[in-house]
Symmetry: D2
Subunit: 440 residues, 4 copies
Amino acid sequence: MQRVANKRTYLDPIHQDIVLDRSKPAERLVVDLIDTVEFQRLRRIHQLGVSHFTFQGAEGSRFTHSVGVMHVASRLCDILCSRTESAENERALILATALLHDVGHGPFSHVTEKVLGYDHEDWSCKIISGDTEIRQILDNFSEDHGLADKIVKVLKKTYKPAYVSHVVSSQLDCDRFDYLLRDSYMTGTAYGLFALQRILRSIEVDEENDRMIVVGEKGQIAVEDYLFARYSMYAQVYYHRKNLAARALLGKLIKRARHVIEETPGKISFIDEETKHWLTGGDLSVEEYLTLDDVQLSYHIKRWLKDPDPILSDLSARFINRRIFKASRINSQDPDEIKAIEEQARKVVALMGFDPDYYVTVESTGFRPYDYYRPEEEHPQTNIVVRTDSGDVKELSQLSPTIEALVKGDYTAYWLIYPVEASEKLSETIASALTHVGTH
Amino acid sequence: MQRVANKRTYLDPIHQDIVLDRSKPAERLVVDLIDTVEFQRLRRIHQLGVSHFTFQGAEGSRFTHSVGVMHVASRLCDILCSRTESAENERALILATALLHDVGHGPFSHVTEKVLGYDHEDWSCKIISGDTEIRQILDNFSEDHGLADKIVKVLKKTYKPAYVSHVVSSQLDCDRFDYLLRDSYMTGTAYGLFALQRILRSIEVDEENDRMIVVGEKGQIAVEDYLFARYSMYAQVYYHRKNLAARALLGKLIKRARHVIEETPGKISFIDEETKHWLTGGDLSVEEYLTLDDVQLSYHIKRWLKDPDPILSDLSARFINRRIFKASRINSQDPDEIKAIEEQARKVVALMGFDPDYYVTVESTGFRPYDYYRPEEEHPQTNIVVRTDSGDVKELSQLSPTIEALVKGDYTAYWLIYPVEASEKLSETIASALTHVGTH
Amino acid sequence: MQRVANKRTYLDPIHQDIVLDRSKPAERLVVDLIDTVEFQRLRRIHQLGVSHFTFQGAEGSRFTHSVGVMHVASRLCDILCSRTESAENERALILATALLHDVGHGPFSHVTEKVLGYDHEDWSCKIISGDTEIRQILDNFSEDHGLADKIVKVLKKTYKPAYVSHVVSSQLDCDRFDYLLRDSYMTGTAYGLFALQRILRSIEVDEENDRMIVVGEKGQIAVEDYLFARYSMYAQVYYHRKNLAARALLGKLIKRARHVIEETPGKISFIDEETKHWLTGGDLSVEEYLTLDDVQLSYHIKRWLKDPDPILSDLSARFINRRIFKASRINSQDPDEIKAIEEQARKVVALMGFDPDYYVTVESTGFRPYDYYRPEEEHPQTNIVVRTDSGDVKELSQLSPTIEALVKGDYTAYWLIYPVEASEKLSETIASALTHVGTH
Amino acid sequence: MQRVANKRTYLDPIHQDIVLDRSKPAERLVVDLIDTVEFQRLRRIHQLGVSHFTFQGAEGSRFTHSVGVMHVASRLCDILCSRTESAENERALILATALLHDVGHGPFSHVTEKVLGYDHEDWSCKIISGDTEIRQILDNFSEDHGLADKIVKVLKKTYKPAYVSHVVSSQLDCDRFDYLLRDSYMTGTAYGLFALQRILRSIEVDEENDRMIVVGEKGQIAVEDYLFARYSMYAQVYYHRKNLAARALLGKLIKRARHVIEETPGKISFIDEETKHWLTGGDLSVEEYLTLDDVQLSYHIKRWLKDPDPILSDLSARFINRRIFKASRINSQDPDEIKAIEEQARKVVALMGFDPDYYVTVESTGFRPYDYYRPEEEHPQTNIVVRTDSGDVKELSQLSPTIEALVKGDYTAYWLIYPVEASEKLSETIASALTHVGTH
């Protein structure tokens, strides 16, 4: 018994046994961080927001994903350290950051972030720096002082050496490695699979330029395959039409709840203090923020099924009973045309008695599965850099014509979101402008 | 678009695409039942109760499992119908029952059932027969009248032909087929894997004796392998020590909440009406019962973190923050010895200031992965019957020495459950009677 | 027993149970064709030539692959027939062609074809039309007269409707579907995986234009993913440097054996009649050709280990004992430069005592994972055509920027092949022109 | 390039990348041994003899399996060494023995061994000790002198410490670990899957008693599951009726070839020297033995298709064209009854013009998936020993009632083997004594 007392094992469906050895300082730190109140909260936040409405297997939590990212980062550390001695100094920092990078997520992850205008990474930083169990454990970690500050720097990408940030957050990071494999596994698609071990083994630290580098043709092909996997997962899962519709529904619901609270003080049928502050943009303390999770929001929505406000109760019922909105792709990229279509749709639903502010919206999707560094952009991407077998060191899209195409492609699309009841009417009026106007 | 409008597809990680064709009456019925308020509620109930505390991947819901059982039943129907024409008449009944068999589950599935003394199958029957969307859809199904009554009969095993019940609930049923594969997949163990397709293809209806029968040596070996899978999943997952401890913690928490409500009326910090009725054993209506789910109970527990009752708030904190009890196997099967050990443990924890009624318990585990029909028992099992290649028809354990052993084995074990703080003290006093007294 | 007597089951690692029902004419035909002497011969021909020298798992045969292609074609038929009644008329033809498309392959599949200047599809046609068991079974098939002629037409792409040929041989055919999945599985790479079921379900017959068509966005993305899979498999497996080197070695060995036979009549240490005819370009009868397989060629090479011709025995020893040549990528696409590099290499190895005609060669690789129809080319490709959700019908690369890039990319590369003993010398003289000059 | 020059990678479908680092002496040794002529010969010997006639995917070689066993042994070494320092001294010995344990296999592995009365392990020892490349490499290994002798001792189970032998050959050895997983994968069955990593992690060296020991409940359950896997694989794959029939056919063919050579000197149509010595029991040198493989025997059988001896040519045609014998289970365990059935069958086939010595046989099957140590037996099995969580150390069957049953079960069965042409006649005369007398 004593023999194994120092080991903690997480049996994970993606990575199999994740064994943490408490006799190693960095791994002991990880175990202690997992056991904090703040990290355990991630068990109550869905990894994929409301995607389980569309992909029934997508029921996993941020907790599981975060442990997975930490594990991948640990494997990558092993490889980096075998080639670059100094990497060992960063191990605790890398593992802790990988574990905690999502600790600031709120209810249904990204869905509410946008509507309420906050940023989960800011909250990650506040939780790490604040008066929390996490902070206390980080402060007590004797091997690497000031760990909390360092983690915040890594998350904000101001830490040096910079490759530490890249391990956790870049176009080739352990976060994406884990979520592509995990979301593929959970949703039951093959699209997100790629050769993780081969990529990990091909990564080196390029100390001179302070960056990670992919080495060799095998590594390059494996990375290309990973970018294709990412492309397919966005196209098939993350930006699935029904997913957009479910997210839009939740967004409208939250908007309406805020409206009811603000416009009719004391009239909402149920609201707890923390949720009220959060919804109305009050100045939330870290302690308050940490009470928020999917359970809390879902419970409120269930209670609002009987709210006297008819829009709030209707939107709540649609959400709880999965009678989500419809999404149709708009056959245009022209802003004026799109605006006109939205206007027409608003009229159609208004005539049916729906408030168009809560029952119609236009969403845009668009992403590049990979992009090279564009210094003029607000958040320029870190290049994926390859050293070929002949010794050339180049940015990936310069080496691969298919990746060049991924970079150049325009993937923007616009979607009209509306209640299923309006399908027929919309198909009579503006069907030609839309794809997929159906009743199913 | 019109072409596929009649198809509904659920992408499932276990069974891949589950395609339902609305142009077929039984499958249209299934689609309509899935869309009911009552069935959607299963999305908010964990399939494996609190097992995700031990196996992090075990985060799936009853919803996904139920759709899976229906799918397996549908495949089995295809096979039975290809050999027994009359089976086609039962298709809608079989699919609907497979889908709905778990619709009566409450918060955290089996965990609360035991503490509060209700039976989820009774609730399944009430929901199917009650004033519900499900009942309405069943009543409107023109192909097979009185479907609601028939489903209840199937669940209560009074329906004839009896093999219909066996498809959904027996020692070789679609429920077990789905959950073994699914729980293996979600937890990341290989233990529950078996050759489902081979078993399905080997099953026939033995009309003369009104039962299902496994045909041929290949079928027999596949069924044996399935029973081994079941044995290993119980040993490794369902009866995992930490699982027992987590369940016991939740049980004690619920017991304490009921105590606080009953003993100090109006004093509990937060309780909604339905939860109060449920906890205190009131006569719940179907409508009230249907508001219950993991979300609702979890929200209450979160609120009780600040309850003035110190025991309730402490147990809530242990549950929410995953500081669950410890479980040690008792090295005895003798009731008196076990009682004595429990008494000693109660004294130890009492001295530490814990109320032993809420901080110590003994749980027993024990099951046979397969049992033959024992008419003297309260719930005798339906035999698994095999027709060998030479034409013999026998109960499985008569054909297979290993299965005979599974039947004869005694798998009962007793476990002492206690708070982690008591580990050291217990190891000083009664360690010899226990296995695994550790602080981890 | 009688019940299952009509079923034949092949347990396949890729497609699981492939069940053939003799009570259905097309499937009985397939069973009878599999049982012919000519088809069983495919068990003795490796699917991937000499790739098992590089990917140790690649030990499967053309037999297994051919059964797999037939199975995929059968599933595709089911789907096409559910939408296009007339497709049922072509089922036997499609299944038989899918099964037999590779029946003309010779020893080590493609490797010897090139050196000896024959075409395996010609031999497929000769075997199907000739005095063979296959021909006899086809002639006896009463449901579809003149089947042998039709199969030949399908293989030669002159059959109408033309979509029948596309099922078996096009850029979206059952041959590729099977080999990508199978080769991925056998080599242990994830690169070739794609969503076969989703693609199959998205295919329709476009009767008006006599072609297959991919329907819907889901279908389009799945097809794109399949093309990425194909791209990666070529880059990582089929054109792996060591594979090129092993193939070149076998080619030189065969060239030398032919030389020894032709230049020194009666002096080769061992040769049977059929192998002699084959190697020396004699006019082989179908009966003679059918004696050829990997076993026969491998046995000859083993015997040549002791051949008095030193080059033949040396090349044989390198092949049998896997001391294969090296391949280095030439850092140039300029024909004159490449020629110059080859000349230098010839000088280097000549100085070491090797005959450069047998110890040095340049191989080119290059393929497009997908190409659109280019009418000016000798073998123009059949377009992959998509009908989008909005009803547009377009060639794939016009819809997808990434596929457009795949089409436009230039993937040609040149490789210098030489004996490992020359690595050091080559690295002294022309290393700058090469990648990967190593001793390992 | 230099960076990776010291690594050799085998991409294996079961274990993924098997990376060997030449900078570690034991791994460099392994690389050098793999590259020998004698080890490369294993590429030409099927791992599962003639099982690919029944399970089409079973086309892998002894080469691939042997590399796999070495890899598993290497992982086990890592674990043993982390707990028992002295284990490091045995690493090179363990890896080399794991790699070479099957190097003495002859054509079609076990099939010919029995007919011709030799033992592949004797040949493994001769090859390791003889004048071979393997011997030379072992002698040159400076870290561990006398390695060839030690390997022979390990194979003969006279080496001390004895646990070294157990790693390679026992009831819980790396050979079985690899072949169960590999054969499951290749045949496409789920039966042989088990939790390899969990077993490996639970194994310790019990130095006091010089044995391996399984630690903990988790380890015990994983080992039980592995034994169930082994049981199912024997029942479903290795002892599959058609496998028995194919093996018997090859056995009779070899017996007839020997007869023709011995009775009619110079009359057999084709035979090379080494094959002649082997078939007629001559005193083969190691050099001669090493020319034997599946290629050589298959080529002979192909040539014998036209042998003037009608029995030899007929048996050859059945083998090459997969028109194998039939096997029916005899419904009796009584030696006299079995003898009588065989006699009747001999009469039936004799009347049809077949020589019963070559067209009828009785085969017995029977094995225990696990057995405890029975000192009175010729080859007593090494116990699987478990240390439970409570510290008890016991032989496995004493801890587990199901394993106790596996030990006690009687799995012997007898099979009548005969040509398919005799099925009808046999079903008229002795069908009642048989199972499965069919024409398919």
